[in-house]
């Protein structure tokens, strides 16, 4: 084959250029530690890298959301725990107040402490997070949820909203519970029905808050006490039960015995003390009653000076209801706390899942884009040797020419 001199040089030069360009590629890889520096180096890997980085960033975001959710839920948990303590103390005070040895004066001390506790409870219900958002005002976070109105009752200024945070690709979690749910939606009475005494009662009858036996139909009933002969003190006290439409449920003449069960329409209760004829009690379905009103009523009832049997019966009736109300409220608080605890656990488990997703994805990412240094360095040496060889060959070949001999 004929070879032209300039071609011979060109081929040698081309080969050196080629070696250099390969060398610089390997050099760049070693310098950056990445197999690919441009999408064109490996288009499939490059698009994988974009996607994998995206997954990692999203997982980071979920982790950040979890941190923020945990902060909120922990605050709520603390507030709920404190709330439970307040309920416990009030329950104790109520039991104390029911004690027959209490005087008007000692009851006023109890009233004093109860009022303090009520204020503490309001403060807890109005707790804020680090951003000054109220924990218990639902979605109206800038509004103080509970404030005393002119009539002395506590209005709710929040709403029922729950804020959800995204903590995983398909998982959202609520980071609050509305104040309405925690402090207002507490059923009065025993949670199903409540027994109210007439203010006009003259006897010492004190109703037990009662229990449901069978199916209670949400009706409203009156238990009316009477006596066959109101003159004879030995004549037994009787009672009848009517509903709010005037229908007779238990006809007049039922014999009343202190402590004996009275049962009708799924309602089970008994009375202590002696009701007078004409005394009556109303049984109605439990309605939601906010805990502040309940406690306010308790404090007020404690402050009323009492002397007569009927007055004491009224107090006992009220206090009994407060005791049950505290049980219901405690139940409610525990329920919400359990729920918050479950959410905190869910946060932990989702955090682990997210973390392991990140670890896996990082591993894949590293396989896709990270350089195998051992291989790269040996390739670098190979390329260097190749280049040196080309350079030597070139100078040697260029050295000889026939013109040297002319």
């Amino acid at each position: 084959m004929r070879i032209s001199t300039s071609q011979m040089q060109q081929v040698a030069i081309n080969s050196m250029l080629e070696q250099q360009s390969k060398l610089s590629k390997v050099q760049e890889q070693v310098a950056t530690g990445k197999k690919i520096s441009k999408p064109s180096d490996d288009p499939v890997a490059a698009s994988k890298v974009v996607k994998l980085n995206d997954i990692i960033k999203t997982a980071d975001q979920y982790q950040a959301n979890i941190t923020s959710a945990r902060a909120r839920l922990s605050l709520e948990e603390t507030a709920l725990a404190d709330t439970g303590n307040v309920y416990h103390r009030i329950r104790e005070l109520a039991i104390q107040a029911n004690n027959a040895t209490q005087t008007n004066e000692t009851r006023s001390f109890i009233a004093e402490e109860s009022e303090q506790l009520l204020e503490e409870l309001v403060a807890l219900a109005n707790a804020t997070d680090s951003n000054g958002e109220f924990l218990f005002s639902g979605n109206k976070g800038k509004f103080k949820p509970f404030a005393k109105n002119a009539a002395g009752a506590y209005d709710y200024h929040g709403d029922d909203g729950q804020r959800m945070l995204q903590i995983g690709p398909k998982r959202q979690i609520a980071i609050n519970d509305s104040g309405s749910d925690v402090f207002r939606e507490i059923r009065d009475g025993n949670g199903t029905f409540t027994i109210l005494e007439s203010k006009l009662n003259k006897g010492s009858g004190v109703a037990d808050p009662g229990a449901v036996s069978g199916q209670y139909d949400l009706g409203t009933y009156a238990i009316i006490f009477d006596k066959k002969d109101s003159i004879d003190p030995n004549e037994p006290t009787t009672f009848s039960v009517v509903d709010d439409k005037g229908n007779v449920i238990l006809p007049p003449g039922q014999i009343f015995n202190e402590g004996n069960a009275i049962e009708f329409q799924g309602i089970h209760t008994f009375f202590k003390g002696q009701p007078e004829p004409g005394d009556f009690f109303v049984v109605r379905p439990s309605f939601n009653q906010d805990i502040f009103t309940t406690l306010g009523g308790f404090v007020d009832a404690l402050r009323v000076g009492r002397g007569s049997e009927a007055d004491m019966a009224e107090l006992n009736n009220i206090v009994n209801r407060v005791i049950v109300a505290m049980d219901v409220a405690l139940g409610k608080t525990l329920e919400v706390r359990a729920n918050v605890g479950a959410r905190l656990n869910a946060l932990d488990s989702q955090e682990n899942i997210n973390e392991s997703v990140k670890v896996q994805v990082r591993k894949i990412l590293s396989e896709v884009e990270d350089l195998d240094y051992a291989q790269a360095v040996s390739e670098l040496n190979l390329k260097l040797t190749g280049l040196q060889a080309s350079q030597k060959a070139f100078t040697r070949v260029q050295d000889i020419s026939l013109f040297d001999y002319l």
């Binding site: 300039s6 974009v50 109105n149 804020r163 203010k199 709010d244 939601n288």
Partner: protein, 712 residues
Amino acid sequence: MASGDLLGVSASGVVAAQRAMTTTGHNIANASTPGYSRQRVEMETQVPQASGNGMVGTGVLVDNISRVYDEFLVSELRDTTSLNKYLDASYRFTSQVDDILADPEAGLSPAISDFFKSVNGLANDPSSSAARQVVLSNSRNLSDRFAYLNDRFESLREATNKDIRATVGEVNELSKAIAETNMAIVRSRELTSKPANDLLDQRDRLVQTLAEKINLRTTLQDDGRMNVFIGNGQTLVVGDVASKIDAVPNEHDPSTFDIVFVGAGGNTVITQFLTGGELGGINQFRSEVLDPAQNELGRIAIGIAKTFNDQHKLGMNLKNLLGDNFFSEIDHDAPLTLPSIHNKGDQQIKVDITDPDKLTTSNYQLSFLQGKYELLRLEDAKVVARFDKLPQTVETDGIRLQLKEGSSIVQNDRFLIQPTRRAAEMFNLEIHDVAEIAASSPIRVEADIDNLGDAQINVSQVTNTSNETFKSAQGQLSPPYVVRFLDSQNFEILDNSGKPVKVRMSAEADDPAIDLKKHQGETHATEISETGGRVISETPARHERDEKLKSVDALGVIEGPIAYNAQTGVQVFPTAGGIDRGIQIKVTGEPKAGDTFRIEFNRDGTSDNSNALALAELQTKPALMGGTSDYAQTYGQLVSRVGSKTHELDINRQAQKLLLDQAIQSREEISGVNLDEEAAELIRYQNLYQANAQVLSAANQTFQVLLDAFRR
């Protein structure tokens, strides 16, 4: 035998050797001249003289100085060079796009993920103005990133235009030079009747340089002139006459240059026939890389802007108002319709994006043919729609065409439609006040506190806020609704606008025992004991509930009764009767008769993050490419597509480079100068010269002997 003959013979030898040495010298001198073909002296014996002894030789004759040359190899080299330059130019530009997209800091994906990160931050803390500020600044970043990438694309477009103009100038210079060389070759041939080797080399060289710029074909005339054809058979050079090409703005889009052949009958566009040379490479880059990439960027911009705006409008901001456009309305403003400068009618067309999911990255041509509009998708040259009149929605491609102005349209009028080209450039933030970010849902639902059942009401989604429920009054619903259960199996939906049902506040919930006294008094108590208690129906709590039911009764019934199923829950809106107010609300659980639920505007519900969550979800929602890709994925595909294209071009270019090297080598094998060979030739011809000079000297001496003999 005449000694004069010997002189003549040797003289011819000396002359021939001299010519040969000159030619060798010429070869050596041009050893590195590009396109030079080595030359050889062709010697032959002179016509012998007849004599009695037979034919006597008369010496040597230099018949011709020829160039060593193979026409096929030269044209092979020319074609390979043309293709090589084509790939080179295309690769040079494409790899710049590759570089732009490769930069992990400058690319779009970090900006998108930062943006959505801030939206997530907003969802964590929807009423915080700090979180809102971060959303705004990250949106600005996103818009800057779109602008930056688009700028880079635009400056590449500008660079291609500059290259095209410069290359067109070079082509015109070269065609002129070829025509002149043609003329010189013919003149030289007329003078010597021998081939003008160096001129021919020079012309080959010129044609090859021209082929680097543009794909061409050549033919040789009998008289040695070479004709050059480009494009679709346009004659750039015919004999001594050179024509011109020019770069002129496209008939639709003045920002893009077309190559035209300037002929006697006017300009002919030849852009689409450019399949080789730098011009072809630039053209290919523009149509296969730059346009699709820029359009893809625009498509992502439109996708983000439209889906984000749509969702944002479904939310409520800190000012208790419905959200407005968050980004500029580029689905409406960005699509560009460019009429041809040749249009005879005066119609102007407006295009809107109706569905980013269906949107392609193609440009379109709308033509008016035989009384119908015909929409051609340029990417795959497919007619996607034919229709009689405007407006027309093209569902398959997610666009809608309508008449903007003008009334007349004439056969062959055409428009270039660029739905996405400008979108990235126009991607801007519309909101500047942090309070205007709509992070909350505009709807609040609440169960009445006095409900006896445990049923719950939930908003699952807000789908549309442009109906009269939201639009007729700002900051409230018109009307607000009440859902009331008639019994546990039936409910009705009532209009709550006249006399809003009040939540029973704690203040009203006086101790019922106290109330009993207040309401009933002593008479009633007596009455109870006497009559068996008719009055008890007026126990206050019940009384209050009845009052409330009565007040609800006074409201207009929207729909009802509707059957309720406690197992599955029932959708309240859209209603069973088909009333859709753009909200999806469901009641679940076990209600009791008289339970009510309110549906009202989420006034002051600024800690609600429902809409922020929905906005954040857009990050991973497959909202583009027929529901297969989210924004980051679509961008990832752009990156990988350009990467693949660059990779492919690089491989082709390297393969083509090998072919080119081979073609150069093949030509060099034949026509190249080997200095060792020339050195040997030099020695040979030097020897020849010396030998002939010796013969001359011998002839001279012989003659001298003769002269000396006669002198005596």
